[in-house]
């Protein structure tokens, strides 16, 4: 590393750290992120505690089988028997019920009931979800067929819950308490980091394009080599991104104060996860930053450079599209495949890791591939960067780019 590269890095850092766009992204964006996180957790709350949510629910029961009625004492708070459907419908329309069930004679064999409700009723909140009705119906079917102890087990709210354990150590203790929040919070942090890669790379693209447009580049290249320039910019603007990321934990204080967000936040701040995420962040940044620098040098103006850079960005967004599927299976075939593909590997792994146990082989292989990709991308981009810098008013052709890559 030359002193000129360090000087450029410092210049890039100081110049950009004062820009309004940076200040906005650093001091406003985290608040938006926290607001979104709180919103998601708030929306997830009803499903997290399905029993508490339906405390006020009242469901009518019209039973032609004698299995559901009379209502057992444990359920009278939420269920009410009706002699006819007509009576239940009147109560429903009067707002006394959130819905009513009709069990026909086949219920004993099929376990199926018909449920009626109004348009304004929310299935989850008002006690008409399958999960909420299930213990009541199950108890009705089993009563008289099994002993009371077995019935109590089946009726328990926790019946059927699965707590996964992993060989070599337990999962996070607070997993059940805020299941979705705990799973999603590390993912949001990883996603923010992954997005930061592209934001930081975009700084590089803008920086190179601006200097090319202002004709500063040739003056700079008289003083330093293209490699010094590229290294300095990658370092300086990378440090800028690290500053941005480093500021975020300060905002952790806000949700920590809000008790309900503390468990997911603690999960998001899992040191092992953060350490891996940062390694992938650095590897991902180095790859995309030099690519964006080359894109900036290739374009003849900001619009053209952003078009070229946009193509890289779109290409690199593919791992983000897999996010919904990763929630159910972080070791999805396509996700694993992309974890081994150069350029995709860092972001793909950053998104897989928060969702669960990723095989150590995947981590080792993706790290190795990314580590090899970085110097290869720098090597190629530096050549394209050098060849494009002094070309004004026209874009290099594919042939010229290949020629630059071949040049020793």
């Amino acid at each position: 590393m030359t002193s000129a590269a360090l000087r450029i890095a410092w210049h890039e850092y100081i110049t950009n750290v004062r820009r309004p766009a940076f200040l906005l992204a650093t001091f406003v964006l985290p608040f938006v992120g926290i607001a979104v996180l709180a919103l998601v957790l708030g929306m997830a709350a009803p499903t997290v505690d399905r029993w508490a949510a339906a405390e006020t629910a009242r469901v009518g029961v019209v039973d032609a089988t004698g299995n559901l009625v009379p209502i057992q004492p444990a359920y009278v708070a939420h269920y009410q028997a009706f002699a006819t459907e007509e009576d239940a419908r009147v109560a429903l329309n009067a707002g006394q019920l959130s819905g009513y069930l009709v069990a026909d004679p086949a219920f004993r064999e099929t376990g199926e009931v018909m449920a009626w409700t109004r348009r304004d009723v929310r299935i989850q909140r008002d006690g008409l979800s399958r999960a909420w009705l299930r213990p009541f119906l199950l108890a009705a079917i089993l009563r008289g067929r099994v002993d009371e102890a077995t019935l109590a087990v089946v009726e328990s709210p926790s019946f059927g819950d699965v707590e996964a354990q992993v060989l070599g150590g337990p999962l996070r203790d607070d997993r059940r308490a805020t299941q979705i929040g705990v799973t999603m919070a590390p993912f949001f942090v990883a996603m923010l980091l992954a997005m930061t890669i592209f934001a930081a790379s975009n700084y590089l693209l803008r920086s190179v394009t601006e200097e090319k447009e202002n004709r500063v580049l040739e003056m700079l290249l008289c003083a330093v080599t293209p490699m010094d320039l590229l290294t300095g910019k990658v370092l300086g603007l990378g440090a800028l991104s690290v500053t941005q990321v480093a500021v975020w934990p300060v905002y952790a204080a806000v949700p920590l104060v809000l008790g309900s967000l503390a468990p997911p936040l603690r999960a998001a701040l899992d040191p092992v996860l953060i350490a891996f995420s940062l390694v992938y962040f650095v590897l991902g940044y180095l790859q995309f930053a030099v690519l964006m620098a080359a894109a900036g040098a290739l374009g003849t103006n900001m619009r053209e450079s952003q078009q070229i850079g946009g193509q890289f960005a779109l290409f690199s967004m593919i791992p983000f599209f897999l996010a919904p599927m990763l929630l159910f299976d972080p070791n999805l075939g396509l996700a694993r495949f992309l974890s081994f593909v150069p350029l995709f590997a860092p972001t793909m792994m950053m998104m897989r890791l928060p969702f669960g146990q990723v095989p150590a082989l995947d981590i080792a292989l993706s790290l190795a591939i990314s580590a090899v990709t970085v110097p290869a991308v720098i090597w190629g981009s530096a050549r394209v960067f050098r060849a494009s810098l002094l070309v004004y008013g026209k874009r290099l052709t594919v042939r010229e780019i290949l020629g630059a890559l071949r040049q020793a």
Binding site: A4, R7, N214, V216, M219, C222, L390
Partner: protein, 295 residues
């Protein structure tokens, strides 16, 4: 001591376009050298190779006795495509460029102050570059080129956008640089300025040097064997004169082959006419340029 620049058979092509084709060039140390040529002749490519911004495909190129890469710290290059950081102050910008060249901040600030003073920009030292007029930015760029006190200075179009007063400021600066023992290569379209500055020059056309040497020798080579005489004599039938052209207030007399300037002066004296001025015709550099490029 090796010359400041020595190029032998230098070749550079971009894809199928040959920009420099077997260029031979020699610039001595301490001289002001003019490097001329029409647009697209290969001037900028040649200068960029000397400044180590481009590498020759083949040929020998030595700068200050070293490879262009090794000589880079001792070369100052003012490129044709130039600019400074628009949001930085003039002084801050100059110091930054000097620091990139390894000059300490303190020394850079001192040199920047002196250069801005010399170029008449001292009062704008703190102003952002974007607030300077084009001409003043041009002078700031010239200062940036000199911040590391290079031994070889290459100016590509240094007079572009300057008013006559500032042209004179820059012209004197170039002369001072040569006076300090630095080698200066000037590439400009203002031929009269090149004439007034350079002792030697080279003309490049289609990637090749088509003319090089001492300015006086080149002018003598291209100038006709003719004299302007004021007022106009009746010289059509003089044996020393081949042809006569009218010029404002007098005549241009072209000597017949074999006749000398002494023969003409004797004839003028013998004619008994009152001659106020006799001068040898010297073609301006611009005419030579047009003639070389045209041919």
């Amino acid at each position: 001591m090796e010359p400041a620049i020595r190029a032998e058979g230098v070749h550079k092509a971009f894809s199928s376009v040959v920009a420099v084709d077997g260029l031979d060039l020699r610039v001595e140390r301490g001289e002001i050298f003019g490097f001329l040529g029409p647009n697209g002749a290969g001037k900028t490519t040649t200068l960029r190779m000397i400044a180590d911004l481009l590498r020759p495909d083949r040929g020998v190129l030595r700068v200050l006795g070293s490879s262009p890469h090794d000589a880079r710290p001792r070369v100052g290059y003012l490129p044709e495509e130039r600019g400074l950081y628009r949001d930085l102050g003039v002084m801050e910008c100059l110091v930054y460029f000097a620091q990139l060249r390894g000059v300490s901040r303190w020394v850079a600030a001192r040199r920047a102050g002196a250069l801005l003073e010399r170029l008449g920009l001292a009062d704008r030292a703190r102003a952002p570059v974007r607030e300077l007029s084009r001409g003043l930015q041009q002078k700031a760029q010239i200062a940036a080129t000199l911040m590391h006190e290079p031994e070889l200075v290459i100016f590509d179009e240094p007079f572009q956008g300057l008013d006559p007063v500032n042209v004179e400021v820059v012209r004197r600066l170039i002369q001072d640089l040569a006076g300090e023992g630095r080698t200066v290569v000037v590439c400009a379209h203002e031929m009269s300025l090149v004439e007034s500055l350079c002792g030697r020059l080279a003309m490049i056309y289609r990637g090749r040097i088509v003319l090089t040497g001492e300015l006086t020798a080149i002018r003598a080579q291209f100038s006709p064997d003719a004299f302007d005489v004021l007022p106009a004599p009746v010289a059509e039938h003089w044996p020393e004169v081949g042809s006569v052209e009218a010029i404002p207030g007098g005549s241009r007399l072209f000597l017949r082959t074999g006749a000398s300037s002494s023969d003409l002066l004797r004839r003028l004296a013998a004619s008994g006419m009152s001659v106020t001025e006799v001068s040898r015709v010297r073609l301006p550099l611009e005419s030579i340029f047009l003639r070389v490029v045209g041919s």
